[in-house]
Symmetry: C2
Subunit: 254 residues, 2 copies
Amino acid sequence: MTSDPSSPAQPLIVLVRPQMGENIGAAARAMLNFGLTGMRIVAPRDGWPNPKATAMAAGAGSVLDSARVFDTVAEATADCSYVVATTARQRGLFLPVHDAEESAQLIRQKQAGGERCAILFGGEKSGLATDDVAHANQILTLPVNPEFSSLNLAQAVLLTAYAWRRAEDASLPFESPYENVPAPREELDGMLSHLNGVLDDAGYFYPEDKRKTLERNVRTLFTHAGFTEAEIRLFRGMIRQLGYWGRREDSTSE
Amino acid sequence: MTSDPSSPAQPLIVLVRPQMGENIGAAARAMLNFGLTGMRIVAPRDGWPNPKATAMAAGAGSVLDSARVFDTVAEATADCSYVVATTARQRGLFLPVHDAEESAQLIRQKQAGGERCAILFGGEKSGLATDDVAHANQILTLPVNPEFSSLNLAQAVLLTAYAWRRAEDASLPFESPYENVPAPREELDGMLSHLNGVLDDAGYFYPEDKRKTLERNVRTLFTHAGFTEAEIRLFRGMIRQLGYWGRREDSTSE
């Protein structure tokens, strides 16, 4: 991942007339969580720099430090050739509408061709103006609950950055140490023999004419559990100890 | 989508020892944005109810109103059979690790079989304790920037709810009114004839021996543009008006 905010390998995040510094800072944090570093800001209500943004950005202050401020959407996107407008409302504009994942794929394609891409986010009060959206090549909208569709600015940035990151590289920070594969049957059978021996000593298979049924039920139970080899080793440790304990010379009883 | 918070058709969101009411409220908002309504809270630091949570939840107060509070993770998940722990760190536990999308698919499968599912989120300071994670059937982790991986509580809830929603129903709140299909060639050719006629009158094809080349370039230009039928109509309106204007009896000139 590049960290050059002017690199066309990343979409620029353009906040259009944002109001609260806290939300600008939270947006910077959300960007950096998924590796985006290029922020542009159009006409921030409370001027720039904004100490409340810096306080909220926590470890993402570098994104704010390199943010560039413009007066208009036209100026903020002057060097871009593919512009995406995020909005929760249809605008009557003849623009294609895509979700965040499709948009991320399109942005990747444009970037691969050397295009600089920008994603516009409107301010807290009413989002992007339709005149802002008219600067875009496409609309990005999210599959929100139609009965409660208002997303916080930083949350809209977060979901967009997340989709972009996943389109580039969906690898997780760590993987399971665990091959979740049931052990081969010989391991299971070894465990069942061991278990059945201990259960037998404990008087579990009683009366004798139930033995076959009980053994079958025990087998089915552990087949269903699907223990891995490591789990079988762990479980055999329990059986072993129970066996030692049950078979002990009971020297402490009166 | 059901709105019954106890329905197994939705995973429960379980906040474990959350600290700031603001984050509980923001988490409620994030849940409702993607249609989740069942919240459980384990040992909230500042007690419950929490006016700061209510203030931050905005329109999602109903999620907080129906939230249930418990002392321990065991009690909060007592009626659940599939429990997911969200964490950014490997814990040395033999648990499968999945991303949000895979987890959402697994949860859907469990729910389809009638299982109640819960997703655990740790508090702001250090996330889930390893003892909390040991209650889970699987770990959920997100493909965050490894150099800046700390996600706000509400943002982790948002991404998880988003993935769940997309696994259930990825439909967007609106679609493009626009069939983005280039017009058939006869429409393009009609437009080019019209345009060429006006350009000819305007003296564009000059000198005559350049006419063929210029006509070809004009054709290539508009083929590349890929206008739809609606766009061709719009453009022909412009040509028509330019034609009227250029061909007018110039009665106002001296």
